[in-house]
Point group: C2
Chain length 313, copies 2
Amino acid sequence: MTHVIFVSTIRYMANLQEIEAYFIQLQKEITQSLELLDGEATFQSDCWQRQEGGGGDTRVIKDGNIFEKGGVNFSHVHGKMPEFLKQEGRNAAWFHATGVSLVIHPSNPYVPIIHMNVRYFEMSEEENGAITDAWFGGGIDLSPAYPNEEDAYFFHTQLKGVCDTYDASYYPRFKQWCDDYFTIPHRKEMRGVSGIFFDHLRFENEDEQHKLFAFIQSVGNAFIPTYSTIVIRNKDKVFTEQHKHWQFIRRGRYAEFNLVYDRGTHFGLKTNGRIESILMSLPPHAEWVYDYHPEGGSEEAATLPFFQPRHWF
Amino acid sequence: MTHVIFVSTIRYMANLQEIEAYFIQLQKEITQSLELLDGEATFQSDCWQRQEGGGGDTRVIKDGNIFEKGGVNFSHVHGKMPEFLKQEGRNAAWFHATGVSLVIHPSNPYVPIIHMNVRYFEMSEEENGAITDAWFGGGIDLSPAYPNEEDAYFFHTQLKGVCDTYDASYYPRFKQWCDDYFTIPHRKEMRGVSGIFFDHLRFENEDEQHKLFAFIQSVGNAFIPTYSTIVIRNKDKVFTEQHKHWQFIRRGRYAEFNLVYDRGTHFGLKTNGRIESILMSLPPHAEWVYDYHPEGGSEEAATLPFFQPRHWF
């Protein structure tokens, strides 16, 4: 999966190898930490190759103490740019895309679903030729069935901290982007309590590239301390059938978002990605109840305002 | 919901009122028959209006003896043609769309899911002006978790019978169309055992319109005798947790198809349809297991060939 970079006619040089090495290391650290946290289940690794170029390592955990189903995927795919994506990049005939993508579905309804993705794209006019365009993208968002003030505030504080280290405009922009992106338009609600989302972060020179890569690493590295804290706070909370029922309904919304709107899912399906790696994001169990509304005054009804955009600071 | 028809500059005249009356009657007959069959649950009716014009009557059954969740919807929506559909019709500035759409999810894994839709579209350049284009569409398909030879053959025989009464070319064409349409490309399998599917059945004169309308009625009227037979054959079969598990996985595929590919679902979401009526098609309960393959030689593995296109005659 190594890749020789030719010095570009434009001013920056993207070091794909170094970026890829970080993503591989990040996947390793995250899976090890989640195994320790779970205390029972371990990740199963499936390495796969894509016919048109590249491949990945899909690591999946299931039926653990804490994690009912989860995937932490590394991939680096490359080849001819798919027709439907050509307009995204400048002179984008060939592409490399590498990143880590994860979704964790815990079994306790009080422990939130989490999603994170960090990725890097590089385009060229000729195969492995001069780079004509490149960018970073990613994001991290939390989808609790039972959001609480403390967790949601802590989560946004952590993300703001990461963002503010690099650029004071990042958090407000990327949080807004996340509110917009993870909204289920037909439900008029977000799939969770939002987080940050960003794409097409381009750079004009090596310094800017290094700064963005450092930012991406800070996002990736924030995952474990942030999510562990939230898991530990909630993992021993007692729950009933009714709590599971509500969790299943919220997971249904999660599946709706991913299958109808998520660009990552559609990118994977349209670029002949590995289906099981793409769809590992789907919940282990989901429910759809016709015209369901939680009872007024219930714990479930109290969660609804959390699924609307909100200023945390 | 009545609608005055102006004689068109083109050669046919679509009698929207008569067609709508049939759909309303069909919904009534189907819901009554399903209630009788179930013996316990009854349909709840929700009448709704669409802001931009028209509305519908959504009838939902749940937690019955046989039917875990099901919807039989009538709707007649009209107004300005949505931008994304304009290219479908000739001079299609304004539209009327009316039809019956149903999806039934039984609780016994041996009783198949069924879907049927019969619909009529009419377009005009001016609001309620001369009709510039009109067509019938529809289809009926069966999605068993445990398909069996006898049921699948019976189902296709019934549909072939309906089709052959009108045109010997219908069944082969519409069955092929159904095989293609209800295929989940990323799974390389159909969501069930297929059936018939057709769209844009246009007519050049009143005779042709009457013939197509009669065909649509025959499809609609075939639903009860066909599905009742299949339900009665299977409803008392004994099943275990493992059978429910497989049913949930197959329902996951059903949700994948409907959310990622189904044109009816996307039409509803994009035309500001009533969300709960559109998404009543989603299963009550679904599961996604990473990289699931039924054990070799199992009852589940034996069902897989049924999800590939097949010549029944």
